[in-house]
């Protein structure tokens, strides 16, 4: 009898969880569309602007400072030109008035305001950053883990981080420059108009062309090439990353040279695209030089007849021409601002898409506190059926079992049989559709999520550790836990001696995701953490996966000792030491197909017996 299983599991494989590097590819998050949209869905930019709430006075101050910065340099040029022009026709120092002081004054204010403007802008940036992070975390918290399954694979979480980092520059690059430009343009135009009204519209035309039309136009004509270049670059980078990660496979199959050629072909393609793009973006740079100087020329051209006719005082000719030129400093950052705006909007759109997702679990308002029944931790599962969203086949069908307090059950079966789903449902990571799970005699759906989880210790194969010390990683498992309690849990988990053997003992930093520890050490630490939590129910989901057999044996020994004191559910596809549990449930295709003790099951021609034979052939 040979059966083929559906090996593909619903979970996305996490083993390729790599470095935090982002590929520079546009990404979309594959989320289930939210069933109900939020009541008000404002445009992305508008929602982004709301983050500045509470900081508007800082924003206004920083824009004022940046206006003073540019305004000072405009005034410096204007006053200087006026000064020397007047000096050429003046007869005494009195004619120069305050202009000699003015030039120096503007020189100083420019430098000072620039200094303070930078400080304020940085302050706003950091404040915004903190706001974005807290906001996003708070929105994400209720979505975990059901809605986040997809984010693990392909490093989407890192991409989210990247998107938030893009938004860091939202204020400095996107908000501040255009507002400053508007203020500078407005006041310069008024100043020009006060001497000769025609100058204002002419000036504004140039100002707008440089600040608005030119960036827009450049983007328009370069869009196709730049999209192409980005795609080619993303492709090249994917190839590079792919090749470096697969280096062993390439070399083992003698494909290094072939890859080098392939990469160099892609690299050349990218280079050509980039050169082509520079032909177009170069036009932008050229036009910007042209327009700025043309503005100066036009103002001069228009003023000459006015001077000749006596409508305009002679010294103002040089002054107006030069200050016009200086004011264009305000528009130079605008092309960059429009690029940054696009990037921010895209990033924000993706983030909003995530936070607009509806949480999987709807907390019922009628939650009752169940302190009274706290002595009873029977776990009962009745006729439970469940289908994951966007999946055709049900993950669980009519599952029923009873786990009385202080006994243990093992659920075994091939991967994809639905074992882990049971754990997910008990812990209320998902809500089930049909049937009932009750803990301590009360339906878990009627209990508060946190309350349910508080009663369950959970050890899985993907145990997560924070990048901090061993002590901190253990301590957070329970409020008000003493050092003695932590150490005694570690002794039970047989990790205490190892921890003491480390140079810094419990204060040892365990690195990103605890990766400085070996797999066996991490699992033991996870067991210790579950023990510290001291929950009456213990759920173990493949606690020894990814461990080598010798380590596995040792960890299991520890676990079985611990399980004796708890109501425990062991989920595994490795059939080892199962004579230690009170009952074994064998699952396949979402159903329980057999149950019994280890002795009962191997006593007959069971599926369990068959699996065990296959697995232990080497031992026979």
């Amino acid at each position: 009898m040979v059966k083929t299983y559906q090996v593909e599991s619903y979970k996305l494989q996490v083993e390729k969880f790599q470095s935090k590097k982002l590929l520079q590819e546009p990404s979309t998050f594959k989320l289930q569309p939210s069933s109900q949209k939020e009541a008000s869905h404002l445009p992305t930019t508008f929602r982004l602007l709301q983050f500045l709430k509470g900081n508007w006075h800082r924003v206004a101050f920083s824009i004022l400072l940046s206006f003073i910065t540019i305004g000072s340099s405009v005034a410096l040029m204007g006053t200087s030109a006026w000064l020397i022009s007047t000096a050429a026709i003046a007869t005494s120092v009195i004619d120069l008035g305050v202009s000699t002081v003015g030039t120096r004054f503007f020189g100083i204010t420019r430098a000072l305001s620039r200094y303070f403007e930078r400080l304020v802008a940085h302050d706003v940036t950091f404040r915004l950053l903190a706001k974005f992070r807290i906001w996003f975390y708070e929105k994400l918290e209720p979505l975990a883990p059901a809605r986040l399954m997809n984010f693990r694979a392909g490093d989407l979480l890192s991409r989210i981080i990247g998107d938030i980092e893009t938004l860091e520059n939202f204020y400095v690059r996107v908000i501040s420059p255009p507002l400053t430009a508007i203020v500078v343009g407005f006041f310069t135009a008024i100043f020009l108009a006060s001497f000769y009204p025609l100058l204002a519209p002419v000036y504004l035309i140039f100002f707008l062309s440089l600040g608005l039309i030119l960036p827009w136009l450049t983007q328009l004509i370069s869009r196709k090439s730049s999209e192409q270049t980005i795609n080619i670059r993303a492709n090249l980078h994917t190839q590079l990353v792919d090749s470096i990660q697969g280096i062993a496979d390439l070399l083992a199959y003698g494909r290094a040279d072939e890859r080098i050629n392939k990469i160099s072909v892609h690299a050349k393609e990218y280079g050509d695209a980039q050169k082509h793009l520079s032909l177009i973006t170069g036009i932008g740079a050229g036009l910007s030089t042209l327009l700025t100087n043309l503005a100066l020329w036009t103002i001069l051209f228009l003023c000459i007849p006015q001077v000749t006719s006596g409508n305009l005082a002679g010294p103002m000719l040089a002054s107006l021409t030069l200050l016009t030129f200086a004011s264009f400093e305000a528009v130079t950052p605008l092309p960059l601002a429009s690029q940054a705006w696009n990037a921010s909007r895209e990033a924000a759109k993706r983030l909003f898409e995530v936070v607009d997702t509806q949480p999987e679990i709807n907390e019922q308002r009628t939650t009752i506190s169940h302190q009274s029944s706290s002595t009873n931790y029977d776990l009962q599962v009745k006729d439970l059926s469940f289908t994951y969203p966007s999946q055709a086949l049900p993950a669980l069908q009519h599952v029923t079992f009873n786990l009385p307090a202080l006994t243990s059950i093992a659920i075994v079966g091939p991967s994809g049989a639905g074992k882990s789903t049971i754990a997910n449902l008990i812990l209320r990571f998902w809500d089930y559709q049909v049937g009932e799970i009750s803990l301590g005699g009360v339906n878990v759906k009627e209990q508060n999520q946190d309350e349910v989880r508080q009663r369950c210790g959970y050890v899985s194969q993907h145990t997560y550790f924070f990048n901090t010390s061993i002590y901190e990683n253990l301590r957070f498992a329970r409020k008000k836990v003493t050092k003695e309690e932590i150490e005694s849990a570690c002794k039970s988990a047989q990790i205490h001696d190892f921890i003491l053997s480390l140079p810094k003992g419990y204060d040892t930093m365990i690195g990103e995701q605890g990766l400085r520890l070996s797999g066996g050490e991490r699992q033991r630490l996870a067991i210790a953490r579950a023990l510290i939590k001291d929950a009456p129910v213990l759920i173990l989901d493949e606690p020894t996966a990814n461990l080598d057999p010798l380590t596995e044996q040792e960890v299991l020994k520890t676990l079985f000792a611990v399980m004796k004191q708890k109501t425990s559910l062991l989920i595994t596809h490795r059939l080892i030491g199962l004579e230690n549990v009170n009952e074994i449930l064998v699952m396949n295709h979402g159903r329980i197909i057999e149950s019994g003790t280890h002795q009962e099951l191997i006593g007959r021609d069971s599926f369990y017996h068959h699996l065990l034979n296959l697995q232990n052939r080497i031992l026979s």
Partner: protein
């Protein structure tokens, strides 16, 4: 580092010269334009000329403007050409070198860092060569040419320029140093905040399990606030040098204006040259300040270059597999030892082993006992620190089909991923290999079958399926030596049994070595030999 980067420009002298020339000529045109401008204003303002009388000069200004516009286009295009050439060359060189260094190096270095160097690192050089370097040359040339024009006109202004100019590079260096600290500190701060945030997001489920997820937001806020505070204090001081630079440039413009203003007043100077000097004053400081703006690009470039050269400077052995036609009869390891660089205890110690044709060897032992090191040695990824291997890895490698524990799936079609085993394999051969690896049925169930693109984000395979795909590669390569590295660690017993059947069949066809490292249940169920490697715990 700058010098090393400069040697890279060797192949692109033409475009580099073009970039610098267009910058220099644009600078000269600016001086000419300033001269024309001051003449026009002088003629209208003092000589009372009309628009028509100054028309020629105005047209000349238009010519100068157009010239400058054209040159700024040209310099962008040619600067880009320089950057593209250098980037392409260096990227190819780096990639080839990484491949030469092999997986033994990339494993210790963490692939993440290598990919960063090859992807972001190379891109960071773009700005260095297309912006920073040309600006650096222009900063050296343009102020000097301005000085050449200024001195004959007015000694005093010339001296003001000459004295303040060196102060600017001086402040730049201070700023540079400061900026380097600021950039680094700010970068570190942001990285730290980012890492903490990522840590919180990744551990969200764990936090939830322990009922701590709601409090974490406060934690994030607190850490952000703390960092904002410390960074702000640092910035307040480091921005001071930028303030000094800014002051210097604006104040000297003001000083020049006042100084020439007074001499004009007392008739020691004419208006036209005075105005010419005033227009030139900001232009004189402009390149210096522009360099400041591009300093960041320069610094990023050198930082990236340092990382790149760190990799390029690691000596590599050239692996040149000789096209050995003769059948390899046996593999002999005598007294082989190996110690990883930067580690004290050896990973392999005095290994003596002979594997004859047709023999199946199972290698069992704890994680970290040296099994994978031995495989890496046979594959030529590392060279033994002592002892002798016959035949040499150069000859050995082409004769090995390898199924790693965690095979890499390339971002390509399934067919091409299997084809890695044999470049010119026909479709029928690929299907046969997939069938042998028990993967054919699964592939056929996919909508695009063998043309399904897999890899990072495409439809994913489970780790068991990935291993079977690697097995298909090995079957396709059909080499005399087969190495299976924990081939069934991700499979359930049933699939494992199926696979065993096909591997047996496969082996029966030919006489081949069969080497397997497997601490799991043994896959080639009856090996001739089992070797247990002594536990050799290596602390990390």
């Amino acid at each position: 580092m700058h010098r090393r980067l400069l040697t890279l420009t060797r192949g692109s002298h033409f475009y580099l010269t073009l970039t610098i020339l267009s910058g220099l000529i644009a600078g000269l045109l600016t001086i000419w334009q300033a001269h024309l401008l001051s003449s026009v204003i002088n003629n209208v303002f003092l000589e009372k000329q009309t628009l028509n009388q100054v028309m020629t000069l105005l047209i000349f200004i238009l010519i100068a403007i157009s010239g400058r516009a054209f040159l700024s286009w040209l310099s962008e295009v040619s600067a880009n050409a320089v950057a593209v050439k250098i980037k392409t060359d260096l990227r190819n060189k780096l990639f080839a070198h990484i491949l030469k260094l092999g997986p033994a190096y990339s494993r210790s270095q963490r692939t993440g860092e290598l990919t960063t160097a090859a992807v972001e690192g190379i891109e960071a050089l773009d700005a260095y060569f297309s912006q920073y370097l040309p600006q650096l040359v222009i900063t050296a040339l343009v102020p000097i040419s301005i000085l050449i024009f200024v001195f004959p006109i007015d000694l005093l202004t010339g001296f003001v320029f000459l004295i303040t100019a060196p102060l600017i590079p001086f402040f730049m260096i201070i700023i540079g140093k400061g900026a380097e600290i600021v950039t680094k500190r700010q970068y570190d701060t942001l990285q730290l905040l980012s890492a903490h945030f990522l840590d919180s997001l990744q551990g969200l489920t764990t936090l939830k399990l322990f009922g701590q997820s709601k409090g974490q937001a406060k934690n994030i806020a607190q850490i952000s606030e703390q960092y904002r505070d410390t960074t702000f204090k640092v910035l307040r001081i480091t921005f001071l040098s930028a303030l000094a630079l800014e002051l210097l440039a604006t104040i000297s413009t003001a000083v020049v204006a006042v100084e020439i203003g007074f001499r004009l007043l007392y008739g020691y100077m004419d208006f036209q040259p005075a105005l010419f000097l005033l227009i030139l004053a900001p232009e004189f400081y402009m390149p210096l300040r522009a360099l400041g703006a591009k300093f960041h690009a320069g610094m990023n470039g050198t930082t990236a270059a340092k990382k790149i050269y760190e990799i390029l400077d690691i000596p590599s052995t050239d692996i040149q597999p000789s096209k050995l036609e003769e059948q390899i009869s046996n593999i002999k390891l005598s007294n082989i030892s190996f110690t990883y660089p930067n580690e004290s205890s050896p990973a392999l110690q005095n290994i003596n082993l002979t594997i004859n044709t047709g023999q199946h060897i199972a290698l069992v032992g704890k994680t970290g006992s040296g099994k994978s090191t031995l495989v890496n040695l046979l594959l030529g990824f590392i060279q033994p620190t002592a002892g002798n291997l016959r035949p040499s890895t150069f000859d050995l490698q082409p004769n090995i089909a390898w199924v790693p524990q965690k095979p890499h799936l390339f971002h390509d079609t399934i067919a091409n991923n299997i084809r890695l085993g044999k470049a010119n394999a026909t479709h029928a051969e690929i299907i046969q290999a997939a069938k042998s690896a028990q993967l054919h049925n699964f592939i056929e169930s996919l909508p695009e079958k063998y043309e399904t693109v897999i890899g990072e984000n495409a439809s994913r395979l489970s780790s068991g399926q990935a291993q079977r795909l690697a097995l298909a590669r090995a079957f396709l390569k059909d080499a005399p030596i087969l190495i299976l590295d924990e081939p069934t660690s991700s499979l359930d017993p049933e699939t494992e049994a199926l696979l065993e059947e096909s591997t047996k069949k496969f082996n029966a066809r030919q006489n081949r070595h069969h080497h397997c490292t497997s601490p799991q249940y043994n896959f080639p169920s009856r090996p001739n030999h089992r070797l247990r490697s002594r536990q050799n715990y290596r602390a990390r």
